[in-house]
Every structure is written in structure tokens, then in C-alpha cells.
Amino acid sequence: MKDINEDIKWAQINKDVLRSMENPRMGYWVAVATCIAMVGCAVLAEIWQYRYGMGYANLNWPHMWDLYIATFIFWIGMSHSGTLLSAILHIIHADWRKPIYRFAEAMTTFSLMTAGLFPLIHLGRLWNMYWVLPYVSDRGIWPNFRSPLVWDAFAIGTYLTSSALFLFIGMIPDLAICRDNARGWRKKLYIALSLGWRGDDRQWRNFRRTYLLMACFLIPLAVSVHSIVSSDFAMSIMPGWHITTFPPYFVAGALYSGCAAIITLFVLLRYFFRFEEYMTLSILEKTCKLTFAIAMVWTYLNLIEFASTWYGHDVAAKEVLLEKFYGPYAPYFWMMMFCGSVMPFALAFRKLRRHIPTMFVVSLFLNLGMWLERWMIVTPTLANAYHPIAFDTMWPSMIQWAIVFGSFGWFGLLFLVFVKVFPSVSMYEVKEMVYHRRTAAGKDPEVVLHHPHRRSDDEPEPSGGTPPPSGTPGLEGA
């Protein structure tokens, strides 16, 4: 089974991808309207909470954090997939990532843009949020650099900036193709964004170097970002939070939910944009195998966390663990274990891996499991910490649910805008992949370069999308 059809013409690739950006159908507008409605729910809930106080979120005295922080970790986690696919797989030369990394990177940026909202929404005094940043003040007031929440602000800010830059840089050659084929406002937009890309040797050389540099920078950054998020919990003294394995556990969980989300979006894009030629079953299978491996790492880290808590004989931590097993949150806990550790075994079977509807449903369940995981990290500890008088269970109010619900709408909205404004499959990298596969198969790579149709007059020579014929930087573009 091939990852991609090697005989596909380069012009065909341009055509297919550019087609996906045109003429939104009715379904697209329905999806946009749904997302806006979801965001609207969240905005109304937030206005209410802002005006009348956090009490309406049903937060109470031991439960100072709840769904907001859980969903924050969920979205941060999801952002790790783009880095994994683009940066890590780029560095290890796994070229099957090429048709699918673009939307994964977009997912990274957008889920960070969603995640970043939650720490703000959960603040009691949202209007003073900038106090977390170290701006120069005459009164000499700084934030508390010992607080993991301040680290969070830096980590998310850095990660958002660099992942957005990474997404943009990787898109420049494709934006040039769009520029050459666009009219009207799109033309102006792509002219500005493609930064004068002509596809000459020097530009390719600089481009490759920058892209590699960004990839190398992003990998440790992504790992550190989720480690820092985990230190919100690991740095506290609360039982069930103060756990040494939290940083790797969070990073594994992040990659896991990110991969699951990639499968979901893969299926959706493949179906709606008819990207069957590019998002092939073989690539889906590879993604599924990767997800399975990460799921097993996650399961393992879960089990050693239980074991170390159990044998550690820290009474309070043990009780929190038992409360997770039997307590009021047990249904959610076991659902998380089922979705996170049992469902991924569906990915272990070749037959199921190749069945797209199954994979779609499984990936949704995996992400449900990962969302529940974050909730089960935050809430049971608050419900059963040290002081018995404060043992309490709490059910989040509609305000919290509406904001969590709306965050999915916000993410969806950003993504929907993205797929119609930017190419969601990397054209130049797919061409590169086709080229390499042809060379490897011993076929003449020149054949695919020729344009199958006569070019119309108003469609100028595409200048952007042709990478150098080999992986070595600096060779003349075709």
C-alpha cells in the first residue's frame, strides 16, 4: 500500500488544493453558523459570570477550579499534535507527514488560541489579567515569578507565537501559489503574506534553514510547555496533584489527544474536500499506529502513577486515588480509563484501522477520554484534599458547560476560516514527496512536472510551488 500515488501530476496537486479553498457549499455556511451560535452561548455565559460573579459557575469553597482549568489543559494538550507531526516527524524524515501536517499545525495554533482564553475566563477579576505580566511599573510591582501560573503565561505566549510563526513560515511557498491563482481581495492578501516569494534558489535555501531551525526550536518548547502546565499541579502540595511523573504524563496525554484530534480532522477533511488522493488510508494507518503507541505510553504512565501512590503510603494521596476508584466521580474516572486505555486497542487491528467511520468514532472517544482525564486530574483532588471538613462534590453549572461547549465552537470557527483562506494541504511538500517516491521507485521524475492542461491566459505560471528536485537545499527550483 502506497502512501501516495506517485503518478499524480504537480499541476493536479495545485488544482485539487486550490479547489478546496473555493466556493464554500451550503454545508460550510451551516457549520460556520453552528460554530458562531456555540461561541454565542459561551459569550453570554461569560458576560453573566463577569457581571454577577464566579458563584454562578457553581464553583464553591473547595472547588475553586473546575472545568475551566480542565478544558484549558485539554486544549493545550491538543496543541501538541502539530508540533509532533511537523517538527518531530520532519526531523526524523518521516515523509508521510507531508500531506497532513498543515492542518495539524493550524490545529496547534488554534487550540492554543482556545486554551489561552480559559485561564482568563477563570479569573475572578478578569479586568486585571495583565497583572500577571512583568510590565514596568512605577510602583515596582512585579508578578510572582515563583508561581506556576506566571510560568504558564510565558509558556503559552511563547508557544503561541512560535507555533503561529512556524505555521506561517511553512506556508509561504504555498501562499505564493495561491497568489498566482487568486483574484480580488485574496490576491492582495496573498501578495502581502507570500513576502515576495519567487521560488528561486536563495529563497529555498533560506526557507529550508528557517523551517528546520523553527522545528528544532519547537520540539523542546512543546515539551516544556506541557511540563509547565503540569507544574500547576505538581508544584502544589495537594494529594493527587503533587506527583513527580506529572510532566511526562501530561506530555504523553497531550500528544495522545492531539493525535486523536488529527485522526478526527483527517477524516473530516478527506471526506469534505475529497482529499482521498493525498490523505490516503496508508497515512491514516500510520497516524493510527502512532496514536496507539502514545496511548500505551499514556496507559503505562497512568499505571505507574497509581502504583507509586499506592505503595508510597501517603494516606491523603491514597484516599484521593481510592475516591477516584469508588467515589462520586468514579463513573467519569472509569469512562476515562475505558476511553483512554481500552478504546485505543481498536487501533491495533488492521481491519479497523482501515475502516474510516470506525476510526472517526474511535478518535472522538479517545478525545472524550482525554478530556475526562483532565477533569479527573483537577476535580477529585479538590473534592478530597487534606481537610475533611472541606470534602465536597460539586456539579458544574450551565455557565461552565456553556463556556466549555463554546470553546469547541470557537476552535471550529477558526479552523473553518482557515481551510477556506489557507491551503490545508501543503502543496509544495506533497510535490516533494511525489518526486522522492518516483525517484525511489525508479520512475522518471520529470513526467509529473508537465502540466496536463493548456493553461488559460489569466492564470500565470505558478512560481511558488515547485521545490528543488532533491532534498538538498539550494538546488534550482523546477
Binding site: M64, W131, S137, W142, N144, S236, M394
Partner: protein
């Protein structure tokens, strides 16, 4: 000019705020609570509400866990010795009371986690909360093992003190708005007055110059308050008598009969409140 300020006071900026609290304390306010004497009358709690303008949240919200009782009397029951299969939620005997106020930990877990340093250690050995600086991230409360921090979930001044109850609000301290964390301060406004008076009279604050509202109100003198840096103060003497010392995670006692202990001492929070264990005959 800000930049000038940074350059001239660089060492101060670099330090951020104090590492692990102050080391040259002016005072070290502490407390001792004799559980033998506590009768669970809740007068301390009422006094605290009156003194500190605590929001009265109403029954529904209190049941939801949104109460603001800085000083709370916790009730615990002995294992009810009833017939098998019979249980009472509130048995008629075997109750114990535990008055809990902010323990003013010297290694407070709430302090390092606040993103804006709204809670910090004062030279008085108090764990202070700066309402104006608080942005309501609520991390401090999550990291307090005693769960002694209370959050303003609503703007209580809208409805908490209807006319003419607003006239009884204490003018010595502010009414907090929604979105701000608050907690027991050992009645810092009273400590402030006592220190100012003592300075005007050119003397040191003497033992008995200042009491928090709860201590003043306690009908059985179960609560003892004072400066633990003053060797003559009654609180210091009590701590000494029960061989409880600050800065330890475990107390070594010559006499097993001594009743003093600090809550969650093993977590190394180093609280400034000592409890004297309740001793009684448990007859069946």
C-alpha cells in the same frame, strides 16, 4: 521615570519579593487554642463576621459551599456507638469542636503560588492578603491544606447588608468586591492600631494590648493570642509549656501527656496556631 527606578533599585527588583518570608520579624503573632475549653458556641465566628465585614451569603449559597466564615467551628463526632444498622447524621453526644482560622503559616503554601504576589509574609509574621492586588486565580485556596481561604463569588455588598444593616459595617477595613480572595488576618486592623498607639507612647506593644475579635469574644478563654517573640507573653508561655516550637515538622516532647500540636505539621507549613488536644473520658 520607570527605567531610572529600575536602575537605581536593581537589587530590590531582582529579589522580586522575599525568599521564604522575612527573617527579621518585628513580631510573630501566634495563637493557642485549648480544645478542652472550647464549647462550640460559635461566638468567635459571629464576632469575626461583625469585625471583618464578612459577606452574609444566605442559606442556599452557604449550602452550596460559598460561605465566607473566616473563623469556623468544625464539628466532628466520635464513632457513634449505636446498634448495628442504626446511624444518625448528628448524634446527640460525642461531638468535638475545632475552631479553625487562618493558621498564618510561616512556610505558607498559598504564598509562592499566587501569580501576582497578592499574598505575602509581613514583618509581623502574618500571612497577608492584598485585596487590591488579587486577580482571583484562586490558586492559593487550592494549595491551602486547611482550606481556610474564601473567595468572593458575588458582590456581597449588593444584597448582603440591606438597610440599615450597612450601618454596622466596620469602617476600619474595606468591604471586598467580587473576584477577590480573602481570609482571616488575625484582625490586622486591630494590630495596626495597637502598634500605632504603642509607637505614639514610645513603648513596645505589650501582651494584652491587642486581641482579634474571636479571642476577645471567646467566653471560655479557649483562644490565646499574642506575640511569640515576646518571651513573657501568655501565648509564648503556653507554647513552651506544651513543648511546641516553630520551624519543626515534628515535635519532640519529654512528656507524652502534653497536649500541644499543630495541624498538618508534617506538611511543613509551619503554622503559628497551636492546638491543645481535647482530653475526655469516652465512656460507653
Amino acid at each position: 521615570m520607570s527605567l531610572q527606578n529600575i536602575l537605581t533599585n536593581w537589587s530590590q527588583y531582582r529579589k522580586g519579593h522575599e525568599q521564604g518570608g522575612f527573617h527579621d520579624y518585628e513580631h510573630m503573632w501566634g495563637m493557642a487554642v485549648d480544645l478542652n475549653k472550647c464549647i462550640g458556641c460559635n461566638a468567635c465566628s459571629v464576632a469575626c463576621y461583625a469585625e471583618n465585614n464578612l459577606g452574609i451569603v444566605g442559606k442556599d449559597r452557604f449550602e452550596k459551599g460559598q460561605g465566607m466564615h473566616w473563623m469556623r467551628i468544625e464539628r466532628y463526632w466520635d464513632e457513634p456507638n449505636l446498634a448495628p444498622g442504626v446511624s444518625e447524621e448528628f448524634p446527640s453526644r460525642g461531638a468535638s469542636f475545632l475552631p479553625m482560622m487562618c493558621q498564618q503559616c510561616n512556610a505558607a503554601t498559598c504564598e509562592p503560588v499566587c501569580p501576582v504576589a497578592a499574598t505575602y509574609h509581613t514583618p509581623d509574621g502574618l500571612n497577608a492578603q492584598v485585596y487590591n492586588r488579587c486577580i482571583g486565580s484562586r490558586y492559593c485556596s487550592n494549595n491551602c491544606p486547611y482550606r481556610l481561604r474564601y473567595f468572593n463569588f458575588y458582590s456581597y455588598y449588593d444584597w448582603s447588608w440591606p438597610e440599615p444593616l450597612n450601618m454596622q459595617l466596620n469602617p476600619d477595613l474595606s468591604v471586598r468586591d467580587k473576584g477577590v480572595m480573602e481570609k482571616c488576618t488575625f484582625c490586622v486592623q486591630r494590630i495596626r492600631v495597637a502598634k500605632d498607639t504603642a509607637r505614639r507612647e514610645d513603648r513596645k506593644v505589650a501582651d494584652g494590648d491587642v486581641y482579634p475579635a474571636c479571642v476577645q469574644t471567646c467566653p471560655t478563654d479557649a483562644l490565646v493570642f499574642g506575640d511569640m517573640l515576646d518571651p513573657e507573653s501568655s501565648v509564648t508561655k503556653l507554647w513552651k509549656a506544651h513543648q511546641v516550637e516553630l520551624g519543626k515538622t515534628k515535635q519532640h516532647k519529654d512528656n507524652e501527656e502534653l497536649r500541644g500540636y499543630r495541624i498538618f505539621e508534617g506538611l511543613n507549613t509551619d503554622p503559628c496556631v497551636m492546638y491543645l488536644e481535647r482530653v475526655r473520658e469516652v465512656e460507653v
